[in-house]
Amino acid sequence: MARIGVFICHCGENIGGTVDCNKVAKSAESFDGVVFSTDYKYMCSDPGQTLIKQAIAEHKLTGVVVGACSPRMHEPTFRKTCSEAGVNGYMCEMANLREHCSWVHEKGEATTNKATDLVRMLVGKVKNNKPLSPIKVPVSKTALVIGGGIAGIQTSLDIANAGHKVVLIEKQPSIGGHMSQLSETFPTLDCSQCILTPRMVEVAQHPNIELITYAELESLDGFIGNFKARIRKKAKSIDEKLCTGCGMCTTKCPTKKIPGEFNEKLGNRTAIYVPFPQAVPNKPVIDKNNCTYYQKGKCRICEKFCPTQAIRFDQPDEIVERSIGAVVVATGFEVKGTDFFPEYGYGKYADVITGLQFERLASASGPTLGEIRRPSDGKIPEKIVFLACAGSRDPAKGIKYCSKICCMYTAKHAMLYKHKVHHGDAYVFYMDIRAAGKMYDEFTRRAIEEDEVKYIRGRVSRIYEKNGKLIVKGADTLLGAMPVEVEADMVVLATASVAHNDAADLAQKLHVSYDENNFFVEAHPKLKPVETNTAGIFLAGACQSPRDIPETVAMASGAASKILGLFSQNELTREPVVAVVNRAAPPLFSTCAGCFMCQSVCPYQAIEKEEIKNRAGETIKTVAKVNPGLCQGCGTCVAFCRSKSIDIQGFSNEQMVEEVFALLNND
């Protein structure tokens, strides 16, 4: 039989001021199941808690109701007190006599009666509580990092350096991401390769990191601490163990005219290629769409010249499986191409290029070895126009947001151009200069003041080509919106940063939500920026929204720290407030009718099918089963189930009905 203790707190004057706590305690004694009832000035204080412990021991209480402040405040405190005194924490409930009663009603009998009702309500609930213990879930201490840009690299190193295993997968043949394409980085203009390459090598050589490039996530099952990741290793047609990276094959390959992705199509590459000199791993892959052997079955020259016979034309894609404890999405972003802009020529004009293409022109390892030369005729442009906000802040083009990094890299581009072509003219058509980082605004001021870059506040309406010149028709809104026309040799569009076009598919594989622009959605914009609503999956870098390198690195370390917290214990403990599908003795086994309509109700895909088999292994019945690791305890399935076969611990049907009964049967 339930032996419940009721403890009414005065909370100084907060409750005592308008509620007659003594009277509430007195009337609680008459409630069915209550064996002890008292009130005290400060129940949450140390003496208050010892009072509870003594009462538990003295009256051998099996349940406790504390009438005090909001459970959102002190429920953990009183549950800890009870468990220390030998009563299971979940046999303790709180009645909110302060925020929901004393503070919001006038002093008087009605308020005291309401307080009594609230206590009776919780006593009714406690009578139906069951002792619960936190759910323990094993954690496999390996992290999966998807994406090998600076975000993925930083996260992997942080986790690996803390002694945990990391599986880093990258879709391209080499890690490095967009940062490896940059010439120099703002605001310090230090060379991107010099600060990135050592990190890339560190990743390749780190004992704790398994680097798999040219690979994509095939599927992810399971739940936090117990994910099963299946990774598709796309066939490189190379045996990586034999290949020494000597590069002979890349020099001999006859197909040399393939526009290179790394050089943003400004330079060419061969069919068997290493994306860039500092690539990690520095081993080639064969591009099956352009390799003559794969297309027409002839050639195989690379095979002939390979000193270690490492070419494998028949190499198939391979699916490998890893058990993973946590996942970090670090897939980064893309930039829009020039073909996205009808009014700037649909990408028809060769000398209208994107910011990334300018980076390749300015980069020492780029197609022009760092000299700023126009793609059309290779001449050094005398006059360059840079367009900020190309596609961003443009709802008409479906991109409402500001891409955040273009103001800075546009100023950098203008500066790099002036440093390399002193007599050159640089114009920047801008909306607002958004340079809010440390030393950022000073950087843009330097471009304007020292390098004499001509900043014009206005958007360009149209660009067209006329005898070798690009006519840029803009306006200067600071001069009464006066039309401004510039005859330029080259135009650089700071195009919008957008999500990868396959970001939505990856999000669906991970059951992570994504926004209208296909960027991944964080659990809470302010308080949980690196987590997602799916437990165990974290975000790092521009895959969540456009951001620059410093923020990306900070976010990457943030995601890593979350994982290190997760991996710091062998087991994951979780609130036991989870749903359970009832079980019964054979032949019924469960009242669940196996309709499985509850599966589409569960936002966490926590409901699985369980086949109940007889001794001969035949399936007798298929019923629902809730995976305690995934279930977050919202209870939506419980209210849906027509046959009332699912119930939730802590807010069970009996507890809730009992609360309503107790609340309304006060006579």
Partner: protein
């Protein structure tokens, strides 16, 4: 009728069906369900416009749990019920075939619930003018009149649960009515218990009822149960979109649209 018997005999002979659930002549012009499992009883079977029972109700009954190959005569209502039941995973271990009457009234064999789903047209089953009239009359009633109407009607209900037994969608092994911890539906035969039961039954039919009328037909007291379900179907269609019958487990109450329309939530 020749074609019909020929199909049934072939089904039984080939073992595609261990049991054929069809109709046979009842008293006078009436028809009643028939359960045939050996060939020479095939002559009893008949399938004409008089046949109205929704035979799909037998497919989920415990008595036929161990029979996997079953053939059923399917009227349009039966077809709709079978497709929805298949969508609710009730035929996992069954191999079903169906005998339906096509437009020019000759028998057609369909094997498998999926095939039946495609065969099932999109067109809805129109209500008879009498049913429309009753619904309209009911719709015009004020709240107080409706409450009085059901107080009067439900005071006859003896909670014999014939409606539950006759409804193909009521296949739960244990119904909530039988749950006593907590006691959801008050047991004593009082009007309150009757109201609670019929409200619960309506909610459990949301987005699932195929409007076959079996419940009203089975009620020994002739209570106008179909007003409840038909009005609900009309309301759901008005506010949440067309009532489509498909194999999809996604139904009205286990899915949502981010912009579901309502005008009463503040």
């Amino acid at each position: 009728m020749k074609r019909l018997h020929q199909i049934v005999s072939e089904l039984l002979a080939s073992g595609k069906a261990k049991l054929v659930i069809g109709y046979e002549k009842g008293t006078g012009e009436k028809r009643r369900p028939a359960f045939i499992s050996d060939a020479n009883e095939v002559e009893r079977l008949v399938f004409d416009s008089q046949c109205s029972h929704n035979l799909s109700v037998y497919l989920t009954k415990p008595e036929y749990k161990h029979v996997t190959e079953i053939a059923v005569f399917a009227t349009p209502q039966t077809m709709r019920a079978v497709v929805r039941l298949a969508g609710e995973n009730q035929f996992q271990d069954k191999k079903l075939s169906f005998i339906v009457m096509d437009q020019d009234q000759n028998a057609l064999l369909i094997e498998g619930a999926e095939v039946l789903a495609n065969h099932l047209g999109k067109e809805k089953i129109a209500l008879s003018s009498a049913q429309e009239e009753l619904l309209a009359k009911f719709e015009a009633m004020s709240r107080e009149e409706r409450f009085a109407y059901w107080k009067e009607q439900l005071s006859n209900c003896v909670k014999c649960y014939a409606c539950r037994a006759a409804c193909p969608m009521c296949y739960c092994t244990r119904c909530t009515v039988e749950v006593n911890q907590p006691q959801w539906i008050s047991v004593p035969s009082s009007l309150q218990g009757n109201f609670e039961y019929h409200i619960m039954r309506a909610m459990h039919m949301a987005g699932r009822c195929v409007d076959c009328g079996s419940c009203e037909a089975a009620c020994p007291l002739g209570l106008p149960l179909n007003i409840i379900t038909r009005r609900m179907i009309k309301d759901i269609e008005a506010s949440l979109g067309p009532d489509i019958v498909s194999m999809d487990t996604k139904s009205v109450l286990n899915t949502f649209q981010p912009n579901d329309k309502e005008n009463f939530i503040r």
